[in-house]
Symmetry: C3
Subunit: 327 residues, 3 copies
Amino acid sequence: MKRHNIQLNEAGELHHFLDVEGLKRELLVNILDAAESFTSVKAQQVKKVPLLRGKAIVNLFFEPSTRTRNTFELAAKRLSADTLNVNISTSATSKGETLLDMLNNLEAMHCDMFVVRHAQSGAAHFIAQHVAPHISVINAGDGSHAHPTQAMLDMFTIRRHKGAFADLKVAIVGDILHSRVARSQIHALTTLGVTEVRVIGPKTLIPDDTASLGVHIYHDIWEGLRDVDVVIMLRLQKERMSGALLPSEHEYFKLYGLSPEKLAIAKPDAIVMHPGPINRGVEISSEVADGPQSVILEQVSNGIAVRMAVMSILMGQTFGKEKGASE
Amino acid sequence: MKRHNIQLNEAGELHHFLDVEGLKRELLVNILDAAESFTSVKAQQVKKVPLLRGKAIVNLFFEPSTRTRNTFELAAKRLSADTLNVNISTSATSKGETLLDMLNNLEAMHCDMFVVRHAQSGAAHFIAQHVAPHISVINAGDGSHAHPTQAMLDMFTIRRHKGAFADLKVAIVGDILHSRVARSQIHALTTLGVTEVRVIGPKTLIPDDTASLGVHIYHDIWEGLRDVDVVIMLRLQKERMSGALLPSEHEYFKLYGLSPEKLAIAKPDAIVMHPGPINRGVEISSEVADGPQSVILEQVSNGIAVRMAVMSILMGQTFGKEKGASE
Amino acid sequence: MKRHNIQLNEAGELHHFLDVEGLKRELLVNILDAAESFTSVKAQQVKKVPLLRGKAIVNLFFEPSTRTRNTFELAAKRLSADTLNVNISTSATSKGETLLDMLNNLEAMHCDMFVVRHAQSGAAHFIAQHVAPHISVINAGDGSHAHPTQAMLDMFTIRRHKGAFADLKVAIVGDILHSRVARSQIHALTTLGVTEVRVIGPKTLIPDDTASLGVHIYHDIWEGLRDVDVVIMLRLQKERMSGALLPSEHEYFKLYGLSPEKLAIAKPDAIVMHPGPINRGVEISSEVADGPQSVILEQVSNGIAVRMAVMSILMGQTFGKEKGASE
């Protein structure tokens, strides 16, 4: 599909990172391997590498975010890039400038990468379709569509704990319908060869076409968690609670919240993941979130290495390789 | 006039950059030449030079701006300076501190340069009159008075396309009355020796004393654009439309908006400029803005090099020259 | 008391800097000496040292502040650290995340230091009690409790002007009751061996237990200022004026505002200090604030060196010493 080719340059290398869907396993493994090389950076005395020195990376956040923006900014700084935070609400778009004019202007300032978060699905693709050829775009979350760097840091965390993907059983629990994270995770897990991906949630929160993604659907969490190696809890957007889609928070926790009892259904060495920020007592109990099987904070930590990996791959600058050098 | 001498140090070198008016041609040419030396920086592998390493540059924006603030911040970072964005609305002035006390405090923190934007004409001059001798001030736009770095990046763009200034015919079209950009452009063009500067606009938007600046006034754009080499369109502040000064947007475009038909009156190789952000269909048609004669995005791009040039000249740090070294 | 030990590591070295109270004189002198070594940095051509290169320092300001945040940010940049400004109001806490979850996430991003300002007394202690062992916390002001870096820059300024502390008479004038600055100053002054610390203010603004801190209380400023070497004026929070605690601003200035006449009671070479921002004509007259005995702007300037000192001591990185190198 043409929609995905936009992520690759003519040599088949990643130029944008918009969506896990449609990318080959090899490219995903490349990201995980590059991230592995960066985990040593954080341990060394000075946590910086000069790979992206002189590059200008623009954070274009049309939707508020602390965690994601901070990890992208820290990742960029550790690669020695210059960062620019563009506050959209105070930008010239409020003077009637179109989004494309704003992008063209940022391009003309010789920026090298846009990290985009937007409430609308497809926004990062739209931007990637319109930027100049030398600019790379990273999708940092668009509507309920995709959040590929989150999915890749989750894959990185799983690989660190479980090694090979092939024999794993992974369950994703919660509001699949509205979750860009779940969508990207499903594509990443299946591409990386996970045998069995399960999604667990109430009927109102699982889209009708979910089965076509090659996953197994469970509405009963006690059944769905049986023998899984990895439990991925999704954040429950509290603003959905007011509608007809969900019962009360208390009721939701009783049915789908991860308690020690429910976790006991999974394999004894199962790991528990969550993209954060967590709603304690809604989708996950504090006992589990802070317990020995939780790797939630490791995910945040791995987010830096994975984003450093994606940024340097897009810029063609990874350890021991330099895009263009041999071209 | 003493008001302009404040920009120069005792050696006659630029110490502040507040206004093009009153500066000698040689100083303006110096800025253009220094900017030329920085255009190679953006092309090289690493876009940074260490000229201002350890200098602290404060963005003091009392008026919102994305484009101008971003280009100053990027220019400073490419010179390896540290930047500080002072958010005026949350600053201590809201605790009843005076502006001068705030400036004194920033000085005491050993900041080296203030980049000032303010809604009031004269604000940057006022600040320059009161800062400590080691601090340089750049006017990034004050009221309807001056915007000298914008004018210089326009001159740089013209020189790159047209070479010598002497034989050019340049037209500035639109709301001259409220435009700090136009005022600075007129001074820069006449100082650099442009033969014929024309201003074009409705009577209500051209100040009475404009002719005294040595320009030709046209109210009929079809007449004013005849045979010009450069067309500079001004942004129409939409908030002026509500008053009695202007007809409707549609009417304005019909009379003064730059359409392909009107542009055909100019020389065939005329370039079209605009300081941005543009109002498509108000002062300029999309066909012209995105057309082959438009250099609007080049202007943005040149803005980085010109601001790097101004910053390093004020700090006495240009390639091959170091202020104080020989004194 | 255990409450203070939290600031020290097992080797008795500073690990957090939360409060002057309970710290030994030697540790305070260490900070002053380190700050002395940094005052040369600001004078040298390039004002940067690479001591904290690769460290990530997070500004966590729950309360607005320009001056303090700017000096911490500049100090961090001059030490070559990366800085991250976390805007609390837009952070995930607004999505229902707890403060501790937010801190844990920042920790997981491998941040090294939190600079915390909070309206509630004890907030920085609370955070220090809960962060991971590798993270240092600096209290940049918590409620009416403590503001230790402000107190230390004041001590540094006094030492530069007066040399030894032992024989000094120091007066602190104003709203002692609500002042975190005063509280930290009193502890610093007495720890450093100042003979006579006086506090001067109306009964309503001096807490009942003040005498137990080893200071002398004066309600008559004409008496309290007699023969002092140092006069420290406190900022009057104008929002207190509306209550019953204070008369009008005009009345306050007449009684406790520092005028040239009142200053004449002090020693002829007494210095005048103020943490800023100043209320001209309320707690201090412009004549005094801008006069020859005022060292108010020197305080701001010294704030950079003192904060660089504290940051590098906490990170175990001072000139000629490297924590962990010999361990």
